[in-house]
């Protein structure tokens, strides 16, 4: 693996972990900012969309949460936990 690719992967993973850390500590704005950085590096990162969705849902912003979960599923249709959350949000029993 070239160094550039290694750095990109590492940055992406680091931002995800940092985002989760902020989320866990109820620092939602900082968490969203980290997940957005992930999407700037890799717009196809479903986990970042999912995590933003979780933060929006925790903040009672259900329209935005739905949008983020849908984006995560567009990227990764078999993302089970996202399907469960989206179904719950729109009132479908899993």
């Amino acid at each position: 693996m070239s160094n550039d690719i290694k750095n990109t992967v590492s940055n992406e993973a680091n931002h995800i972990e940092l985002g989760k850390f902020y989320f866990l500590n109820n620092k939602y704005d900082e968490a969203v900012s980290e997940f957005k950085k992930v999407l700037e590096i890799n717009p196809g990162n479903a986990e970042a969309y999912y995590n933003i969705g979780l933060i929006k849902e925790s903040s009672n912003q259900m329209d935005e949460a739905r949008e983020m979960y849908s984006k995560a599923l567009t990227v990764k249709p078999d993302y089970k936990i996202v399907r469960v959350r989206l179904n719950k949000l729109i009132g479908i029993k899993s």
């Binding site: 999912y50 849902e57 009672n60 936990i81």
Partner: protein
């Protein structure tokens, strides 16, 4: 304790789901419909499933409808069949008869026949949907009486970071907080983030109301309008 016995007459979407949900609650369910395919489909879920004509008094008697604690009549398409079936069930002496109505007139006739509970799911869902659209920060609403409701509402910004005692919900809004719900961020064993819900069933005066908390409150309709902003 003896399990309660229910008969569900008419296995359209509503009746079918009532039957299945009752079984999940460990009730005994007799499911009746005139369509053999539908009866066949539900037979593996319920205690007993029968193909029978709901307007045939003898068939209903033989099916053991009279022995049931409650009967749900959910015949949707044909009001005449629904009414006739209701009459038969009442004459068989069933103690509790619940009817799924499909119109205001259907409900009125049911009331005249002595039906115990009339449900009108389309109307009730439409009302709920409109409430959800018009008042998005009201998540659930239960009408306790004409003037009093119990609602689940997103905590208004003005009381974030305040204790219940200091929030002034009673004085300013005229409502009582009876429970509080929070969504807590978690990371599971696989490192996957998720949220879990925590409910404080007996919030005390010193409990703090956080941003994003959901409050279960009870109050007059007028007070609740003020709270929802």
């Amino acid at each position: 304790m003896k399990k309660k016995q229910f008969a569900i007459i008419g296995l359209g979407t509503f009746g079918y789901n009532v039957a299945v949900e009752l079984v999940k609650k460990d009730m005994q369910v007799l499911a009746i419909d005139n369509d053999s395919e539908t009866v066949n489909r539900i037979s593996r879920f319920v205690t007993q499933a029968l193909v029978a004509d709901a307007t045939d008094e003898k068939a209903m008697e033989d099916a053991g409808v009279a022995d049931c604690d409650s009967v749900v009549i959910s015949i949707g398409g044909n009001i005449e069949t629904s009414i006739l079936s209701t009459l038969i069930v009442k004459e068989l002496g069933v103690k509790n008869v619940i009817l799924k109505s499909s119109s205001r007139w259907h409900s009125k006739v049911a009331a005249k026949l002595g039906v115990d509970i009339v449900v009108y799911p389309e109307f009730e869902m439409a009302k709920k949907l409109v409430d959800n659209i018009v008042m998005p920060n009201i998540l659930e609403q239960i009408e306790l009486s004409k003037d009093y409701n119990l609602v689940e509402v997103i905590a208004p910004k003005e009381i974030w970071g305040k204790t219940i005692k200091n929030s002034g919900v009673r004085n300013n809004y005229g409502v009582n907080i009876i429970a509080m719900r929070k969504r807590i961020p978690i990371i599971d064993d696989d490192g996957q983030s998720d949220i879990k819900e925590e409910v404080n069933m007996m919030p005390g005066p010193d409990d703090e109301i956080s941003q994003n908390d959901i409050l279960v409150v009870i109050g007059s309709v007028k007070s609740l309008v003020k709270l929802r902003g």
